[in-house]
């Protein structure tokens, strides 16, 4: 039989609540309450004047959400924003995770000037994204440093921030392939060809920027995880004759799984919410190819006074982030552990049937 929990913990609960109440209060006032209010706005016809809770504001059900998929410009803008951000996520998240891991492994070695390298790699993360965006606009301008360097190796660089062509489409065009006439089926007002034509050159510059700025942050997370790994496991593998690469791939990386989960989750959330770069850099230009749902939400609410649609977009974005996080949680689930649990359960059942007595584990617990 399970032992009873000590009585004192129940009494401690109330005191505990009392002690956390300032934090709970702050969270409620500054997070929970605004979120609930935004949720209400997304199902109301609030026009931006006075309190959304006043009696003149009425409930309109899913109308604002329906507007996003009921054709016209609102649907197309939403589709374009999702298309842009999807490519951004698909490229930034894997790249920043891999680069962060590699950087962490590198600065985890004992090399001269280790501290300097760590600082240098981490520096972009602590710099204001607005400052880096401005820097990027200069670097990637038509006559900027990036194109100058590309010219040195004989490549004519694109006019990054004013080229609306998707990079996949531009690459296919070089091979003489143009799918704009064939892939005409549309989803959310955006044709299949537009979905596959990739991020525009402008968005690609932002993708490079995101990888540049966030890799340092995630390097730090990987680094702390690497340093908390027990060296004995690595040494045991070394004694078994595993080479550097095998030890990294089969011993180190599996142990970092929880860190991967953290990094990818944070990466997904950050990428789906990309806003500052767009707001300071391009405002959706060229040709709406840097429009993102977060910026579209701001645009709809603050600039077009369409607060319901703006909040609806924000909540759809919230749903998308949850879905992606659940999906990667499922991909990264601990297969060994669940398999072990299942076989353990089978064994215990078998034992139970054989002896009719409680299993050893149960007695221990």
């Amino acid at each position: 039989m399970r032992p009873r929990r000590p009585r004192s913990s129940a009494g401690g609960g109330a005191t505990g609540w009392l002690f956390v109440s300032p934090a709970v209060l702050v969270l409620a006032v500054f997070m929970l309450f605004p979120v609930l209010m935004a949720l209400w706005v997304s199902v109301s016809d609030w026009s931006g004047v006075g309190s959304p809770l006043s009696s003149s504001v009425s409930f309109v059900g899913a109308q604002n959400y329906q507007d996003l998929v009921s054709g016209g410009l609102a649907e197309r803008d939403f589709g374009i924003a999702l298309r842009n951000n999807l490519w951004y996520v698909l490229l930034v998240v894997p790249l920043q995770t891999i680069i962060a891991l590699l950087l962490a492994v590198l600065v985890n070695q004992k090399v001269i000037g280790q501290g300097a390298f760590r600082t240098a790699f981490y520096f972009p993360s602590v710099t204001s994204s607005v400052a880096i965006t401005i820097l990027w606009l200069f670097l990637f301008s038509a006559s900027g440093a990036v194109n100058k360097i590309m010219a040195l190796v004989g490549v004519t660089g694109p006019n990054w921030f004013s080229d609306p062509r998707g990079i996949v489409a531009a690459f296919l065009a070089m091979l003489g392939v143009d799918g704009s006439q064939r892939l005409t089926g549309t989803f959310l007002g955006v044709s299949a060809w537009e979905w596959v034509s990739g991020p525009s050159f402008a968005m690609t510059a932002f993708i490079i920027m995101a990888v540049f700025t966030t890799s340092g942050t995630f390097m730090l997370i990987f680094l702390s995880a690497l340093q908390s790994l027990s060296p004995s496991v690595d040494e045991a593998a070394m004694i078994d004759g595993a080479g550097t690469w095998k030890r990294f791939w089969y011993v180190t990386v599996p142990q970092l799984k929880p860190t991967f989960f953290t990094v990818i989750t944070l990466g997904l959330i950050g990428c789906w919410q990309v806003f500052d770069q767009i707001y300071t850099g391009t405002q959706g230009d060229p040709g709406k190819t840097t429009l993102t749902p977060a910026y579209l939400s701001y645009d709809a609410a603050f600039l077009k006074q369409d607060w319901g649609r703006g909040s609806a977009i924000a909540f759809v974005l919230f749903g998308i982030i949850i879905l992606f996080t659940l999906f990667q949680r499922w991909v990264l689930r601990d297969k060994d552990a669940s398999r072990a649990r299942r076989s353990d359960l089978r064994r215990r059942h078998a034992q139970h049937r054989a002896t009719g007595a409680p299993t050893t584990e149960e007695t221990v617990r």
Binding site: T15, L25, S47, G50, L53, L73, D77, F161, K288
Partner: protein, 411 residues
Amino acid sequence: MKITRRTFGAATLSTAVAAALAACGDGFDSGSASASSGTAGLTLLIGSSGDAETMAVKDAAATFTAESGVTVDVQLATDLNQELAQGFAAGSPADVFYLAPDFLASYAGNGSLYAYGDQLSNKDDFYPSLVNNLTYEGVLYGAPKDFSTLALFINTDLWSAAGLTEADYPTSWEGLETVSSTLTSGRVVGLTCSGEYARVGAFMAQAGGGLTNDTGTEVTASSPGSVTGLAEVKKLLISGSLKFAADLGTGWGGEAFGTGLAAMTIEGNWLTGALSSDYPDISYTVVELPAGPAGKGTMQFTNAYGIAEASSHKEDAVRLVEFLTSTKQQLAASKAFGVMPSIQSASEQWKSENPTMVAFQAGAGYAINVPTADGASDVVADLSSQLATLATSDPQSVLDTVQANLEAVIK
């Protein structure tokens, strides 16, 4: 003991939450009353173009205070639209503020704006087309504070270097095509402008088109005139003598013109200020835009003074707007930061004071407005986003989409 403590904790928590929420609710409801009842003065929220404008507005406000005894607090907005939206939502907007026509429909539509147009004693003095642009559902919501039209800026050094004379200033599309290609050589492109409707729309106007008719009630985006105008832009783009500012690696036509990357640009009178402050070495002249098949055409842009419905000093606010839009004050503002007065009575004096800028004034007679209906700015933005690829797309199909989108907005 245990129960008491728990009850106490829960009670404290719920009281505090209730108090916090009540405080929030309070802030929302009483905002309108407390915002303007405290002091007797007015607040004027402006999105300034620079120090010159800020100083001029502050001087004008001080003069108004001296004359009327009503204090005016001039506030500079860093992001005017966002600060306005927040003010309206909180119920405590500025009393008077700069209002762009793009936002007229949404703010007038949700009841944020005070319809004071009929109370203005100088209402009939404003250019009628500007009044049209600021009228929503038949009611005038704002007094135009100034305006500008588009004209053709010509770099006179590049002009004479290409062997052209004053007699060659283009007056027709053919003339424009010829001089543009003559001026295009090496790094310099003949003509540039921003790739947006607010510039290329002038070509549509010259062909008798535009997105809507004069009163903004009927959509004419896919009319033959509009298509002809856009086709002319495409023709110039393909010939290489017109390049959009972004394709030259610049932010707008003025930058491309000022840095000498383009010999001509289509811009408004704000460029004259930018040229004298940022590119003082450029020598230039301004002429009217060339005429198309339907005659002369250009676009005009205005900005207005809006008054908040939530303001409790509406009478004083109207007096302030009347004062700021008076002939004397508009001419002073024009001198300070180069804007063009929105009233006809100031026209003659302005022309004599600014002989090099008469082309802008002349445009007032035949300019078209950017549509201002609720939701129209999305359609215009969508059209502008498609102009980047105009060289490879079909003007007719681009404008067909715009026609459909705009018809959904203007019923």
